[in-house]
């Protein structure tokens, strides 16, 4: 059934491809296009160019996003993502295939959803939920901080790292939640409700690591926004990367670009504070010890004085005086006795001189009766009575032969 059995006009393939390329690339038909489809076969070259295929049920088209443009886009093509890309069609001469040179990338359906989001934002703003005067300042010296984030994400780890570095005294109360997917909103609100019952909470960090804009949709939910607006203590958000702003960022008291920055804003760096406190502490310690030491020295001195001036010394002095008195007394007494002795001797001499016995020396005798009494009268004697004669040098017995 061939009608081309006799070629009349033969084109070289290059000529054809060039003519096709001219047709495609001149004119406006295939320029400034927004194309929607699902991303497959994404690869990135070492130079940072991203190659991918956009497809739907009917067809597919190779696309390239060069590194220079890739820097400007907010969404990167990933396999499975539904995207709307902007660019123009070029025909690549070497293999005769068309490809889309991409210079902008958006999430598919973003248009409609963005309109809804914008409407919600306006409504909440009109209510005053985003007003600056509603924003509460973060506590200067937080002690207990609630953290709403995924238990498995890097955000929780990042926050803990910051707290450990800046002020380990701060207690973190973890309230785990799903941060993406259909249950995320419910889970996040439940986490906030849980934290609202925690006593002594100073602030809450709502954190989630970076993600594609469609992953951050729970953070644009009205119910979550209202839960944050009525939360009793200041809330700081650290959701996504810097270029993504969600409604929770608007309603939050403080907005940080990342979980780490959120933690840094909420938890002041205490190292300087701690250093100052330590210095004060050392001064107090030094003063306390000085106070104790000075009193010890006084006590030691007083103790020594007490010993030196103890009454024992006084008693010793008294004892010495006593001894001296005693000696004086003894001397006095000692002087007394010989004196008396002398007096006694002279008295005795005098006595002896006057004694009747002295007469005996001159040849007299004293007569004593048997009863030892002196018989001075002859009439007191009886004949035959035995008497004693007391003479100068002793006594002698005698008998009365004759009595008057």
């Amino acid at each position: 059934m061939s009608t081309s059995s006799a070629p009349e006009r033969v084109l070289r393939v290059g000529q054809l491809v060039t003519r096709l390329a001219e047709r495609v690339q001149t004119g406006d038909e295939f320029k400034d296009l927004w194309v929607e489809g699902e991303v497959v076969q994404t690869t990135t070259s070492s130079l940072g160019h991203t190659y991918f295929t956009l497809r739907d049920t009917a067809g597919s088209l190779r696309c390239v996003l060069f590194a220079t443009q890739a820097q400007a886009v907010t969404v990167m093509p990933r396999d499975g993502a539904k995207l709307v890309v902007h660019g123009y069609v070029e025909l690549y001469l070497r293999d005769g295939r068309c490809q889309l040179r991409v210079d902008d990338v958006r999430a598919a359906g973003a248009g409609e959803a963005a309109l809804r989001l914008e409407a919600l934002r306006r409504r909440l703003e009109a209510e005053g939920l985003f007003r600056p005067e509603r924003k509460r300042p973060l506590p200067a010296h937080p002690r207990r901080i609630g953290v709403v984030t995924s238990p498995t994400g890097a955000a929780w780890h990042d926050i803990q790292t910051v707290v450990a570095r800046r002020d380990p005294r701060v207690e973190l109360v973890f309230a785990g939640a799903l941060v993406q997917g259909t249950s995320a909103v419910e889970s996040l609100i439940a986490a906030f409700d849980g934290l609202a019952r925690v006593r002594g909470l100073d602030a809450v960090i709502l954190a989630r690591g970076g993600g594609a804009p469609e992953d951050l949709w729970p953070f644009n939910d009205e119910a979550l926004v209202r839960a944050i607006a009525r939360f009793p203590v200041p809330v700081c958000t650290g959701v996504g990367h810097e270029s993504d702003t969600t409604l929770v960022d608007h309603v939050a008291d403080v907005r940080a670009p990342t979980p780490s920055v959120a933690a840094e804003l909420v938890i002041p760096d205490a190292t300087a504070e701690v250093r100052i406190a330590q210095r004060h502490r050392q001064r107090i310690d030094a003063r306390m010890h000085a106070a104790i030491e000075s009193r010890r020295r006084r006590l030691l001195a007083a103790g020594r004085l007490l010993e030196r001036r103890a009454p024992a010394a006084r008693v010793a002095a008294f004892r010495q005086r006593l001894d001296e008195d005693r000696r004086t007394l003894d001397r006095a007494v000692a002087r007394l006795v010989p004196h008396r002795r002398q007096r006694a001797a002279s008295a005795r001499r005098r006595l002896e001189a006057l004694s009747p016995l002295a007469v005996l020396g001159r040849g007299y005798a004293i007569v004593e009766g048997g009863d030892g009494r002196v018989r001075a009268d002859a009439r007191s004697l009886r004949a035959g009575e035995d008497v004693r004669l007391r003479m100068r040098d002793g006594r002698a017995g005698a008998r009365v032969t004759e009595a008057p």
């Binding site: 380990p168 006590l299 007083a302 007490l306 103890a310 006084r314 008294f318």
Partner: protein, 77 residues
Amino acid sequence: MTAQKDEERGPGLDAALERLEAIADRLEDPALDLDEAVRLYEEGLRLHAECAKRLDAADLRITQLADALAKQGRPAG
């Protein structure tokens, strides 16, 4: 507890110390009556022991507080 008990008991450490020093001064007076000297000496010895005990207690309390604070200040984990 011990510190509180100490405070309840008699005058403060400083007052006791001053009294002790006053006693030491008085004992220097050679004209002091012996009975009075003995009485003052007895009081002095008692005050000296009391002051030493209180100083030791204060010292211990300070050490304990510093230790407790050191333990408390240590980061957990």
